[in-house]
């Protein structure tokens, strides 16, 4: 794993607290979904983000609601980091009327456009052009907003990667392309499917900066994102950041994951765990106390528990909802 040495610049106590909380929320949320899924309660395909928390959180720590993100099929982490309501998310995964998309989208399409979360996406590579579009609005309407495109190592070989980044580059749009290189696309290793050694190496093809970051180190991600977002807001165009990371669970719930080795799982899931690492960091830097961390952890468990209860107690959509929202005025 190639790693950029993080160099602290702007991480405040408040930010650190927010980051730790969001990382814990994601982990707790995903562990809980995993548990519920295994009971056979949840419908459909579910792709969990556990293990990759540092990426979504390190990047979104710089964003506010006017900024946009596009996400992937593995979108829960991005949603949480971008401030989506956990009750609404969980209800959506259950297909309930109180879900963020009224139960019509499900895990693969959770969105909250008002919060700048432009949707999880069932189409690999779907997010590249979509991030470009949000950035185009930002540029033409001079809102000062940026757009972040999260994508996987598998998506990096899709044609939209090329078209999206080239467009952002020639128009100098405020986009940050964030690769979540977790080593696999389904069961296919990154090294088999990609002719490049690193995704960031491809930045040269677009004359934009490409940076490799330890995706298990939220501070490193935070720093890299800061540089890229500054560049974007200054009108200097897009950046490609590659975060080397790992998904703790399978591709989707039900995947036996035989393609992984025991050693890599041990390393990534135990030794290099992003939350544990950040916990040690904030303690060692005296940004947060053991007690504060504990308090956050307790609160998060509560939040996610409430989300599950909320989802379970929520009603399903009504028959008449089936044909609503196809058009602004349905014909």
């Amino acid at each position: 794993m190639t790693v950029m040495k993080p160099e602290m610049k702007s991480l405040t106590r408040e930010k650190a607290k927010w980051m730790y909380e969001k990382m814990c929320e994601i982990r707790q949320f995903e562990d809980k979904v995993h548990e519920i899924f295994s009971k056979g309660v949840l419908p459909g395909f579910v792709h969990l983000y556990a293990g990759e928390e540092a990426v979504a959180v390190g990047v979104c720590a710089h964003l506010d609601e006017k900024d946009s993100i596009t996400s992937t099929h593995r979108g829960h982490g991005h949603c949480i980091a971008k401030g989506c309501d956990l009750n609404g998310m969980m209800a959506e995964i259950y297909g309930k009327a109180t879900g963020l998309c009224k139960g019509k989208g499900g895990s693969m399409h959770i969105a909250d456009v008002e919060k700048g979360m432009l949707g999880a996406n069932g189409i690999v590579g779907g997010g590249f052009p979509l991030a470009v579009g949000a950035a185009l609005t930002a540029k033409l309407k001079k809102t000062g907003a940026v757009a972040v495109c999260f994508f996987g190592d598998g998506a990096n070989n899709h044609g939209t990667f090329h078209e999206g980044i080239n467009l952002a580059a020639i128009w100098k749009l405020p986009v940050i392309f964030v690769a979540e290189n977790n080593g696999y696309a389904e069961a296919t290793p990154f090294a088999y499917a990609s002719s490049c050694k690193n995704i960031a190496d491809r930045a040269i093809a677009y004359n934009i900066p490409g940076e490799i970051v330890d995706g298990k180190d939220v501070v490193a991600v935070y720093e890299a994102a800061e540089r890229a977002i500054l560049r974007a807001r200054n009108g200097e165009g897009p950046t490609l950041i590659e975060c080397k990371t790992y998904r703790n669970y399978g591709h989707f719930e039900g995947d036996a994951q035989k393609y992984k080795t025991a050693e890599e799982k041990e390393k990534h899931i135990k030794e290099w765990d992003a939350i544990a690492k950040f916990r040690r960091y904030v303690l060692s830097q005296q940004l947060l106390t053991e007690q504060e961390l504990h308090e956050i952890e307790r609160k998060v468990i509560e939040t996610v528990k409430n989300a599950v209860e909320f989802a379970e107690q929520s009603p399903f959509p009504q028959a008449e909802d089936l044909l609503k929202d196809v058009y602004v005025s349905y014909q």
């Binding site: 989208g105 399409h109 456009v113 590249f128 052009p129 979509l130 579009g133 609503k324 014909q331």
Partner: protein, 344 residues
Amino acid sequence: MTRKISFSEAINEAMKLAMRKDENVILLGEDVAGGAAVDHLQDDEAWGGVMGVTKGLVQEFGRDRVLDTPIAEAGYIGASVTAAATGLRPIAELMFNDFIGSCLDEVMNQAAKLRYMFGGKAKVPLTIRTMHGAGFRAAAQHSQSLYALFTHIPGLKVVIPSTPQDAKGLLLSSIFDDDPVIFFEDKTLYNMKGEVEEGFYTIPIGKADIKREGSDLTIVAIGKQVHTALKAANMLADKGIEAEVVDPRSLSPLDEETILSSVAKTGRLIVIDEANPRCSAATDISALVADKGFDYLDAPIKMITAPHSPVPFSPVLEDLYLPTPEKVLKVVAEMIGDETIVTV
């Protein structure tokens, strides 16, 4: 007040008026301005689209609002989807509808579904203008009429004008519609002239137009084929047969009522659609009437379409490929059991 202008000028005028009215309206596509970043180029020397339809827009609105794109349909059409969802009102030009193969995902899975998947919490006020149609000797990959593909997909609106006046009013409606609209322009109509109202006006999407009244049979014709139908109707009138010509103007939504009332009156239906026949707009309209208008029917419903083949290049073959007034007459002759009407 009206004056005679061409189909292509009418479309150009609609875009100009829309862009004047609302600064969120932008235009993007390959060479829609033309000659981007060429220093010596005078704006009036810019291409204005491969057929000159967008000529002059970059002069008035500048290169921030009239954007030349790379040849990256997935990229710029996809970007238009979220540009629309985040506050702009883009007109994206897909030069030929045949190029939808490069960006169907962005249209079908993103633009069309965003609102539904998000539980109604997004809208996509995007207009995709695209050229279609055979007869230009442009061969198999530049001559298709693919509106059936879009009509099949819920979440899209599909508009297809046949006259300059309709083109302008429908394009203005499309641009200011809050749903994604695919707007079809037949490349062989661009030079057709017609009376067009001055100033801003709209024609509602989803409202068919009876282009000719008649009591003996109904011809529903799509896009350019409205003119084939009108020619055939004139020829039939000479034989004492009065055909009603219905122009749906949009395929999605489809004005079922106007079509059904016409058939209720005439008892006979012919659909003219120059697209390929299978799972087409022709079958769609037939099936509608075979269900909801069955009791009105005095005869089988006939469809006059292209054959089930790609568009051939050779002019002699391409001319055989398309519907003609003569083909319509032959079908009518069979329908009413009077062979004499084909001998014009």
